[in-house]
């Protein structure tokens, strides 16, 4: 993994807002690969044609967000759950 390139989940705050309609960076998710629980703001983010969100513990891909002509397509890969506070 190229450790010089990635950003934090916090950098996607605006995009998360577009996708989820709310502030998400302090919300917690659980990686289904290693079981680590982290706030989305602490995840590792690689930005390219789509935005790839990886677990900061095991680097598994937990989420990919791709913008297309209809909006956003979000795939949840190694994401066991995502807590969204009331």
């Amino acid at each position: 993994m190229d450790n010089e390139r990635h950003l934090d989940g916090n950098a996607l705050a605006g995009l998360f807002h577009d996708v989820f309609g709310r502030e998400m960076t302090h919300e917690c998710g659980c990686c289904s690969h290693c079981g680590a629980m982290n706030q989305l703001g602490a995840a590792w983010v690689f930005r390219a044609a789509g935005d790839v969100v990886r677990c900061p513990n095991c680097e598994s891909i937990v989420m990919v967000i791709v913008q297309n002509s209809d909006g956003f397509r979000v795939s949840f890969e190694s994401l066991r759950w995502l807590q969204i506070s009331a």
Binding site: G9, N10, A13, G14, E23, H26, A42
Partner: protein
Amino acid sequence: MAGAALPGRLNWLIARATEIIEETQRVRSIVLDCPGWPGHLPGHHIDIRLTAEDGYQAQRSYSIARPADDEEVVITVELVDEGEISPFLIEDLRIGDRIEIRGPVGGYFVWEPSRGGPLQLIGGGSGVVPLMAMLRARVRAGSDVPVRYLSSARSHDDLIYRSELESVSSEVEGVEVLHTLTRSKPPDWTGLEGRVDRVMLARQAWPSFTRPLCYVCGPTGFVETVANSLVSLGHQPSRIKTERFGPTN
């Protein structure tokens, strides 16, 4: 995305530049007046969107440099030579110009005096911007949270907010300001030298037994080194918040 305000949507607002402060040769602060601004916390950032005449849009995030004050939003921008947005903000933007902004976002990396401390702020280059918002909030609130602020810059001339930090550190009790210079230093320099590493943090940062809240912001490599060193010195990962802004250029 522009147009009617939709609930749950982060709407683009029109902000007007009211003041420009040249911080260093490559860094300036821009004071924006933004009608409808909902307020923010220290550490929050905004998205800025520029639209070219042909409709091409570019978007970038910038940390807010000052705590909330009515509808004012202040950003500090460093020139990135091949950037799409910073050359415009540094070289072309004039007082009275309007840009689109939205926010605040990034609640993961915020601090306010009620969260307590001690507070350890560590910034590389323009990574000091959100940390300065936290320090300014601490000073403005008259809080007694002890703060250590450590910044890393290439040279003395690249230190952002230098004079304000000098007066804060000499006048405000409980605030310690340290700078380290990585490339060149003036002959009479009495501050630190070299990159921030484990040895420097062991000597200059709050020791882990004081359980400080640590905020680290800068280029990815810088943040990586600092965060790993803090963990190896016994700091709790859950009390270290990081904000990386990509590779150094």
